[in-house]
Subunit: 347 residues, 2 copies
DNA sequence: CTGAAAGCGCTTACAG
DNA sequence: CTGAAAGCGCTTACAG
């Protein structure tokens, strides 16, 4: 034959062995006589042989692929986690197929189906699930089919109604801790900027924050909880909308650092200073927020580690029925974007 | 048979047709009698059939996969480009396999081999090449093998010695333009913070900047060009090293926004203000830099568009010998991080 | 340890 | 339009 592409048979022929032997020599597992192995390896090298991954997957009916499905790769939160996943996968000689849903729930389901078709060993659902019953149902079916076929699934954050193993950062507790710290600083009047209420992560953080305040008998007026897109611009817009109403608040909590970055700009555009006129806090501790002026108070999540753990969990046997939970702590980091409201009056 | 995983034969059996017909009905191409097609589609849906991507790839000896190899997914520059690539790929019903080399040249070569094994339709080399002869040789061989097997390759930025089609942002021109603008502002004494000299992008930007200055008979002393890692911390460190020597400069150019972010922090830690004591400029215009205080002067690159164009180029026929070039402009954006050095003296 | 052969799950000429 | 059959490029029992 004379195709431009080199197959195992070519290598075997060049090494004067059967393709079975060539395969064994290349894969290292079974014992092959040293000189034969040597011949195969040299032939493969000389011919520039790259094993057909599909043929291999088909014949062995197994792959070393992890499918990663996230909402938006461009968001530092997700790229941080993805970084951890890729590193961990790499250490185990797994490849990662990354899919970005652009926050379209339907695409998320489609991607699971695609990963199923790829016979990925594991699927990682990065980012929280949606609180929609019909979505959960569609997703559950896909995941069941996938697991029945031998795949394993792990999620990062809470995924209501899916029954999957999850690695969970302390969204609720972290937000509550943050609330307490802010109260300790002296704040009493808060506003919250949040993403879609359909996302579990959003809910957990808002709920945690409100509960933290409730411990001090504080609550947040409903019209001071403003929803925006889960982006920098979403934060800018939501904050703008809020500030236009000139609410008597001393502290603003954005459920996401990315949104906080937008909020910071909005606050300034309204002629207010942070933390002079208004304190601002975020959540995630993505890399840039410590370089903002002022550096942002936030709740730090170990993004890289979240990714690693998800890989661990998905690849560890004993997945069983799903619903295993690996909890990771969140840590409040007070920076200059939050100050005591009293100190403001003293100026 | 009774495997937990559903194959085409199961669907065909359920629809009482041959697997050939089932295949044709599912793939939509050829004409199949309407009622048969209907039966197949329903059966597939009911059984939750997900075609085995590997079997399909093997049988049709083609895939709809694009391999993307970048240096560091966590870096906003790369994730911006990756975003564009994924979007463009999606529109063409292609999937993207992302590989991150962590700036290890050898891994880059390995990944090409891997993509070759995956029979990816196209490989995108995102990020500049290395100026190492031995690396270029190894890479060239892999790429030749890949192209001989029918694959197509496109790079983003200049890749010396590889002979591949490239989409090129105006690194050289953009940096020269920036230099001119800074000179116009009144600056005469510059320092440069740069990444590894082995990267073509780094070189292009530094060279362009120096040439821009040369037009006004200005040059930069060798000890004022400091090299650091291509990261925020690399920028911090390099700037720190530079400032420790208390050089008489009024303007600092970091070849990358990410490095500029670090440099900004370093300048402050040395008790200097930007732009009061020192002007600072970067390159790329990654999303956050306009939210810094002060907002960063930089050279804007259309990251998303770079990604799209690379996909276009790789998938467009007529690749031929490589060396097609698609140039994209870069635009200087003056923001508050640069000011006239005179205004400083007036204070 | 080695080789001949079957089989992985599809697609696609080839007949009909 | 439809089906039987070959083949994609590997791996892996099964004999030897």
């Amino acid at each position: 034959v004379n195709t431009p592409i080199v197959t195992l048979s070519h290598v075997a022929a060049a090494a004067r062995v059967s393709s079975a032997t060539a395969s064994r020599a290349l894969n290292g597992g079974s014992h092959v006589r040293a000189d034969l192995r040597e011949r195969v390896l040299t032939a493969a090298e000389e011919l520039g042989y790259a094993p057909n991954a599909h043929a291999r997957a088909l014949a062995s009916s197994t792959t070393r692929v992890i499918g990663l499905i996230c909402h938006d790769l461009t968001d530092p939160y997700f790229s941080g986690i993805t970084g951890g996943v890729m590193r961990a996968a790499d250490e185990r000689k797994f490849q990662v197929i990354v899919a970005s849903t652009c926050r379209n729930p339907d695409r998320e389901v489609e991607y699971v189906s695609m990963m199923r078709g790829h016979r990925a060993k594991a699927i990682l659902l990065v980012g929280s699930g949606f609180e929609s019953e019909s979505w959960q149902q569609a997703m559950r079916r896909e995941l069941d089919l996938y697991r029945t076929a031998g795949g394993s699934v792990a999620g990062i954050s809470r995924h209501k109604g899916l029954h999957i193993d999850t690695v969970r950062p302390a969204n609720h507790t972290g937000a509550a801790d943050l609330a307490r710290e802010l109260v300790t600083l002296g704040h009493r009047d808060f506003a919250v900027i949040t993403g879609s209420k359909a996302l579990t992560t959003t809910r957990d953080r808002v709920d945690g924050f409100l509960e933290g305040l409730a411990e001090s008998d504080l609550r947040v007026r409903a019209d001071r909880i403003v929803t925006g897109a889960f982006t920098r611009d979403g934060g800018y817009q939501a904050a703008g909308e809020l500030l236009a109403r000139r609410p008597a608040v001393t502290c603003l909590f954005a459920v996401t650092d990315i949104m906080a970055v937008g909020a910071l700009a909005a606050v300034r555009d309204h002629g207010l200073s942070v933390p002079g006129d208004l304190s601002l806090a975020g959540f995630d501790d993505i890399p840039i927020v410590s370089d903002l002026t002022p550096p942002l108070t936030t709740v730090a999540l170990p993004l890289h580690e979240l990714g690693r753990r998800a890989v661990d969990m998905a690849l560890r046997p004993g997945g069983g029925p799903g619903d295993r939970i690996d909890r990771l702590p969140a840590r409040v980091i007070l920076r200059a974007s939050t100050a005591s409201p009293d100190s403001r009056r003293l100026r």
